[in-house]
């Protein structure tokens, strides 16, 4: 795995501290996305030629602007305007936009930039402009190796999102998931990792054994997942950079449903023995194993609160699958789901205030959220089959997977990744090279 190094070299000019006029409210479904113009980033012919020689991309400035445009569009909060309508050329717009021209096409925000290639380094600068106020909102520049250009596009998108919404973005992130192929009765599953927008897919296992439920550690270097290696279903730990894998702990039976603790030092998981699944933790350094629940029911799908003090989990101790919350040591167990139907896969939001879940009711599957005391349940999406939400690092978007119903012959099965806003709006299919399931969202890579 490539180690990315990005240098912020300078803050161009002064960051405008005056209150901007544009503000995007992300707390409700945005039915009027903000019209933005993403001008292609300007690059001189000489730069284009050098970059093309190096990475076989003709007009990198334009490609980066497409990455930004697609990111902004996918939020549902922004409406990138058709470039054909742009009146001002990219180089002039970047120097000083003629705001009347951009007002004319109804752009409220404008993104301009410039790409330069020197000494094997790619230098990308961009500016965000408030068109109506005729003011610059951000100006930043980055240098990196040319092959990193998509990441620059994502980092710029994050800066724009943050400036316009007041919240951190989620574009410079990755998704780890299970890539699926083959007939439903003999699925071949591999661990796969990709950029949040579906680019740069890499497969981390070969598909020789069944793998399920991969999850990142807080620094995104490690992944914990379930593997059926040698037909022994166990929780594994994988170092993405080195490819080294190891079994987590020495349990005389199936371990499953792993996740990292918020500080990355422990793995929490289920251990099944004699028909009973309970929740355990293992400290990755001291190797000390602790039993957290001790109940003859199924206890699984544990997920820590972001402060590490509480754990939400799935149990059928009431007779059916419901969601519970307890202290990190297993005390004070409280049931929090009381609606109609079955509840599973609780996962604590990175902001700490919500728990996302899967719900099964009257033959339909729902992805929903509730407060951590179980109040304020909200169902975001309904489908034939969907489950396992994972939060974007800013807690605004959930990614999950959906499976289709097969036809009378049992054909037509597929599994795809989808995302939806916390608002319940902006449901989107997430591009994957093959079928996919069990997505898990990384934290922001650059922080």
């Amino acid at each position: 795995m490539i180690v990315f190094r990005i240098f912020f070299i300078l803050l161009l000019f002064s960051l405008n501290q005056a209150k901007a006029l544009i503000e995007v409210d992300i707390t409700r479904g945005n039915l009027n996305p903000l019209p933005v113009a993403v001008s292609p980033l300007f690059s001189e012919d000489e730069t284009n030629k050098k970059i093309n020689d190096k990475i076989r991309i003709n007009n990198l400035g334009e490609e980066i602007s497409i990455v930004i445009e697609n990111n902004l569009r996918a939020t549902g909060l922004f409406n990138p305007l058709d470039k054909k309508a742009f009146l001002q050329t990219p180089d002039l717009a970047h120097l000083k936009p003629r705001f009347e021209d951009w007002t004319l096409i109804k752009a409220q925000a404008l993104i301009t930039g410039k790409v330069k290639y020197d000494d094997n380094k790619l230098r990308v600068e961009f500016r965000l402009w408030d068109v109506l106020a005729a003011k610059e909102m951000i100006a930043l520049a980055f240098t990196t190796v040319p092959t990193n250009w998509r990441r620059i596009g994502h980092i710029i998108s994050d800066k724009i999102y943050e400036r316009l919404t007041g919240e951190k973005g989620y574009f410079d992130t990755r998704i780890i998931y299970v890539a699926e192929e083959g007939p439903k009765t003999k699925r071949i599953k591999k661990l796969a990792i990709m950029d949040q927008d579906g680019a740069n897919t890499k497969y981390l296992t070969l598909g020789n054994e069944l793998v399920l439920t991969p999850r990142f550690n807080p620094t995104n270097q490690m992944v914990t997942y379930l593997s059926y290696f040698k037909n022994l279903p166990r929780v594994y730990l994988l170092d993405i950079e080195t490819g080294i894998q190891e079994v987590v702990g020495d349990f005389p039976g199936m371990t499953f449903a792993p996740r990292f603790s918020p500080n990355g030092k422990k793995i929490i998981m289920s251990f099944a023995k004699d028909g009973n699944s309970d929740i355990y933790t293992m400290d990755l350094e001291s190797r000390i194993v602790e039993r957290i629940t001790n109940h003859p029911s199924i206890d699984t799908s544990p997920s820590y609160s972001p402060d590490g003090e509480f754990i939400t989990f799935n149990s059928d101790r009431s007779g059916f699958q419901q969601i519970y919350v307890m202290r990190k040591n297993g005390s004070d167990v409280k049931r929090i789901s009381f609606g109609k139907g079955l509840y599973g896969t609780p996962v604590w939001s990175p902001r700490g205030d919500l728990i996302a879940f899967t719900k099964l009711h009257k033959g339909k599957f729902y992805i929903g959220v509730m407060r951590t005391d179980g109040t304020g349940e909200r169902l975001l999406t309904e489908n034939y089959y969907q489950e396992a939400p994972s939060w974007s690092p800013n807690g605004r978007v959930l990614i999950f997977y959906r499976e289709t119903k097969t036809d009378e012959k049992g054909d037509g099965f597929s599994a795809k990744l989808w995302s939806i806003d916390l608002t319940g709006y902006n449901e989107r299919k997430v591009y994957t090279e093959t079928d996919g399931s069990d997505p898990s969202w990384s934290s922001l890579l650059s922080n």
């Binding site: 069944l210 499953f256 699944s277 699958q321 079955l342 489950e387 054909d411 099965f413």
Partner: protein
Amino acid sequence: MKFNEIFKNIFLVIAFGLILSACATQKKVDSQMKSDVYTGTDTVEYLASGVPDRVFFATNESVLTTASRDTLRKQAAWLRKNSDITVVLEGHADERGTREYNLALGERRANAAKDYLMTYGISSNRISVISYGKERPVDSGSNPLAWSKNRRSVTVKAN
């Protein structure tokens, strides 16, 4: 078994009487399920003559039915006769549940079968258990009959 046959017949007659217009496949479905548990033989294989390899469960359940206990007693008798054989019990769930819960449910089902074999004298060190959750359906259909075939514990020879 006899009881089962009678029940099946009664059920068929009632079904026939009530829904004369029901299509052929619908009757087939009815006759292959009894209160949510698969009773057919489409997917069943045999460990030896007259010894079925699998038992079926109701949705979200791991309770053994009368028919399941009957099958497991046959398996136990066969295992007692063939004392060198070891087995793996593979527990499965249908696709209508979350992946992680289904892994636990498959494990619980396989252990229900294991416990029953043990009460009929089969030593626990001859039986290992594995859960596949919903990962290995036998029937790829998205309907109650397919799901009932997939909720199962299968006894597989390990040596």
